[in-house]
Symmetry: C2
Amino acid sequence: MKRTLGYTTNPIRRHSSERDPEALARHRDDPKRLVVLVAGDIPILRAGEPVTALLSPADTDRVANGLEEVFLGHLGDRPVVARLAPSDAADLFREDPAFIVMDLRSAAMNRIAPHDELGILATAKSLLDWHARHRFCSTCGSPTTLSQAGFRRDCASCGAQHFPRTDPVVIMLVSRGERCLLGRQTHFLPGMYSCLAGFLEPGETIEAAVRRETFEEAGVRVGAVRYSASQPWPFPSSLMIGCMGEAESEDVTVDREELEDARWFSREDVRLMLRREHPEGFFVPPSVAIANYLLHEWLDGSE
Amino acid sequence: MKRTLGYTTNPIRRHSSERDPEALARHRDDPKRLVVLVAGDIPILRAGEPVTALLSPADTDRVANGLEEVFLGHLGDRPVVARLAPSDAADLFREDPAFIVMDLRSAAMNRIAPHDELGILATAKSLLDWHARHRFCSTCGSPTTLSQAGFRRDCASCGAQHFPRTDPVVIMLVSRGERCLLGRQTHFLPGMYSCLAGFLEPGETIEAAVRRETFEEAGVRVGAVRYSASQPWPFPSSLMIGCMGEAESEDVTVDREELEDARWFSREDVRLMLRREHPEGFFVPPSVAIANYLLHEWLDGSE
């Protein structure tokens, strides 16, 4: 089951001690190097059997000027580097049948990007996006420079060190007996319902965030909370923390600022929604998403 | 057991819908308001039975110029606001016996700050510290201004919205049969050993971070990982994610860049360390810390 959960498998061996000041320059000249190329926020994949996000140096030659680079670690004896290119560099690949130019969310959902490389793509996309949005020091406003092979940015003006950001998000399947609570945001595809979710706030435990978000969005009180699984979600840099919650109340009051609807569904509803056979056209997110995993766990009554 | 874990109890009722543009101004004039005052990074507590971090408006009159304010939520019908004051504002309270001026870590450890308010103090300290370090836009370098009653900062120049940051940290009790793995950092008090821990990196699951950090720091391979509990750790803004890990190897290779030592301890060692009766003077963190909680869980063989 966990096998199909997206962004959780990453075969790269990473070790923070290998992030020395010369690491990027050293690997830049290594003919064995593999490159994960992201143009703006679009990853460039090599077509073929199998499709791969791990490009050879020759594949990336056509991109004259890259922006930041990050050393991700090793695959066997091959160093892997993620490279940010300007958004318009995607055009250099778009009409070449040797490459696939597609946003990561679609490439994962449609199973075009290889499942085993989704964790690599998640790391690359989150880190490169972080660099693109942190070229200035939040403490003093001066320009920052990349250090620690891409895992830090330093401000020469005030001395602040800035580290990549990962935002914890709680996502919870709240249930009461034979029914579970699902909601839909306005921007969802028509008919799609998913688990409630929200950013954990400063000073909250995971369990408190599950209870607060469920009450804020749907007016339902949650008692016991049990952690189930976690998943990186690189849009741009979330850590999804999947939990099962036991509802202590049933009346639903939807916060229309956050959700378009929230309601209770039976086990049979959920079975039909997973198979996209629900008579009212309702369905749930695909297996790449942790909401799907939590729903299967609830139906199975076990992990 | 969880009762003693610090920073996890927060009686404030928070709701993101109450963070309208007028919220701070409205509560600033409310005679019932309660104020959590932080000077630099030092909270100002009111002495008495009980000690409290929830000051009255009269208590804070002596601070002429505050910096940022954040609306935390309600306690009953009383709005609670956190206010950042310059570091030297602590001097206005230091010699007044009606107040206690002490860094939060010490106040929690020595049980001077009230246990039930530690979660409030964690939220206030993390948020105010975030404001102090994010007065400029990391995307373009321009000044930012506070919005959403203190839960966002906006850049008028490039339009970026910045949200408070919470950094997920994995902390794990790794064990193999009757022994568990503890380490010490150079800055620990002499004799103190604790669970291994480290920041989760972009693109990692919680479970992968537990395995990577344990291998990086101690060279020990971890198989099964089980989530146990979480804890806000406001130094400055971590979320501690406590896990139990099963070691698959025993040889310890300490990364001296990260740790001064790491070694295996028996259950009897841990019992004596918890009671501070170990013959070699070893001990573990106090009950306010999640490492202590994980050690108790391991000894009990249950939560």
